[in-house]
């Protein structure tokens, strides 16, 4: 089925929030999924996979020139990594170990590149190298599966980029159903009382 950018952003954000991720990260996860989707990647699937287990206590190790996220959950670790590199505090790299969803780290990179007008290089331990700016991404090699380790570095000022590239985003129907089901976890069950009083209007309008 065809879905819009707005639908992806909103649905993924609600799914993440419904699974217990903080609102700020949930919103950015939605944008990262949309960024990937509008560039031909399966942003919805990778986002749902990252969202599904909910947030865990982060494992963070800090040294003088690097910060290392252990058992890195992309939804939390990736935005923090790009923030830290953008903060221009002399930090050379951020290491994400055992990344749950490597593709989503790239999606967050696209959003960070847009926000900070920067460009990022991701080097995976398995040899894959990725350059991402606000507009596009180039991948040399095969993107590794879950459990990979990546080093993220700032690659200098990026181009201004484009917020999204319009495409017909064909989404597998059952996958979208999963997304809607997970998003529904952020809704409150309806009751007779809430139906009657929660919206401040009657049920029938016959005038």
């Amino acid at each position: 089925m065809i879905v819009s950018v707005n639908q992806i952003e909103a649905t993924i954000a609600k799914a993440a929030w419904g699974r217990g991720w903080p609102h700020g990260l949930a919103e950015e996860c939605g944008r990262a999924a949309a960024w990937l989707s509008t560039r031909g990647f399966d942003g919805v699937r990778t986002a749902l996979a990252a969202i599904e287990p909910g947030p865990a206590e982060p494992l963070i190790d800090e040294t003088t020139d690097a910060i290392v996220f252990g058992a890195a959950q992309a939804i939390h670790a990736a935005p923090s990594a790009y923030d830290l590199l953008a903060a221009d505090i002399g930090l050379e790299r951020v290491v994400l170990q055992e990344i749950d969803q490597p593709l989503l780290v790239i999606g967050f990179g696209g959003m960070a590149a847009l926000a900070y007008q920067s460009c990022y290089r991701l080097t995976f331990a398995e040899g894959c190298r990725v350059i991402v700016d606000g507009s596009a991404v180039s991948i040399a090699g095969t993107l590794p599966p879950s459990g990979a380790e990546a080093v993220i570095e700032a690659e200098g000022a990026g181009e201004e980029g484009t917020p999204a590239v319009l495409t017909d985003m064909e989404i597998d129907g059952s996958l979208w159903h999963d997304a809607l089901t997970m998003a529904a976890e952020s809704y409150v069950a309806s009751s007779l009382s809430s139906r009657k009083f929660g919206a401040g209007a009657g049920i029938i309008d016959d005038d």
Partner: protein
Amino acid sequence: MAGSADDRARRSKVEARPPRVPLRPPDKVMRLSRMGAFFPTRLSFMRSLIRRLHTERAMVTRSVWEIDDDGYGRAVYSVTFGGDVYSLVAFSTSLDPEQRTDRVIAEAWDTTYVLFDGRPTSADLDRLAIETPRQEAGRFSKTELVLSRANKSLRLFAHVVDSLAVGRQPDRSMIGKIGYLMRTTAVYGNGKFGIADRLRILERPAVNGPFQLELLTVWLIRGFTHDLVEHIAKMRDPKRFRPLASDIKRHLGIGNATGLGMAPFLVNHPILLHSWMLARETAFARVRSIERASPATIDAFLVCLARARRHIEDWQVDDISQMDRILTLRREMKEIAGLSTQAWLAEPYLWDRLTAASERWSEECQELLLALMLEPHGELIDDLSSKMASDVEPTLQPSMSIGELADLLDETFAWAAAMDFGETASTQRFWYISEEKLEPRLGDRYREPGAEKELPLDIARQIQTLRAAIDSEPRHEIVAHFLMRHPEHRRIARRVQTTASNPYAEIRDNLLGADCRPIDMLRCKLSFFGASKFDPKSDLWTRITLYQGAPTFEQLGEADADDWSFPVLGDAA
């Protein structure tokens, strides 16, 4: 209203420099009681849309009219605007009275619509005939820009048909009291339910302002309701049928029923809200800065004032609280008229003095006066219409130190710190999305389940929580580092960093309090649309009238196409 060359020169002089009078402070403007007293102005989005349609000499054509004698079928209207063609595709069907509801929970409607990008083919129409009546459950594509539906006003629609069918005009008092043949119950844009994203029209200046396509859709729907009621009446008795008198037709706007969905929008788009407010307040300051009001603008103001008095006299609602406010407003408008003597009007800084004088009256009256003062000053303020769009998203400033963030919160967000959330009543309510067709609802935190899933509209409370959290952090620490450990504050940190330089971005009231009136937010937003005749059905729900007095399709090219503020229906000629 153009005024003389001297007037224009004087206005240009004023415009060229910053207003002498400062903008009203956000502590005064961004309060719910005042926002809930707003009236539409000439900067409202419907007004600016109609002005541009008029300037472009846009023509609406009806290319399809496949409507049966009972008024059921489909129709297509097309308009070329900004070099692009937009088509309203309308479907009219029979509706079981049991299913007639204005709420989002509805499953069927009298009429349903899409705004199509271009001219639909027969195949498009056949596809849309299946999908459009399903609304949220339908499947749409990027050629559909807006999705909407409307139900008949049972009070008026049948009466108008009955009247026209026997060669009579409908009762003018009923037209004045109700003001529309149908009420829209939702108007969706920007990618909702699979329709086109806003990105599709970002490079189209004619329609990329706030809600321009949605409001174009509503204007076209209004024209369809006029045609539909005349068609049914004519089919009933072609010999005796008479069309609607042009002044009645012009006074028939389109109704709208609006609930809580509008309120979170204002909170979730703080930079956009700031843009709207800033334009409005800048316009007001420009007008108040005029030293010598020209006779032409004074005359135009007095004409508007007189018309507004009649408009307010026509404004009747069942809601006791709003009716009290209207009665007060009527009394105060008499005082304004009494104040407006020739000597008083001739003194310098008329508009600023009038503003100062209005401080003794209700906020409803003060905001009405603002709208009236803006009305004759189009040349001075209409440029601000183009500054009311914003696609800026809040962005984190990761290198800001915790000390700087603390100072920012203490200095710029003191209003939030001052709120007391200690009492039960101060957090009585919570906003949420119901699983039932995703209807936005408001619950009682202490009596109903679901508060753990509340929408994050409690901006002031979040600011307080953030301030407390950074209190124990080293001042030299950076925000990026703090958020790495405390991602729960990411959203509010990003927001305050962005909105600190946008003073009209935040509503400076407690949206969780037992005494919060969400309807104030609805009225604020709807006034920016250009809505009038606010008719509250509760603190959470209102009906309004859109495009009342606006030119019809046929009248768009006429000279008075922009002269429809505070419309009144005169006596029969």
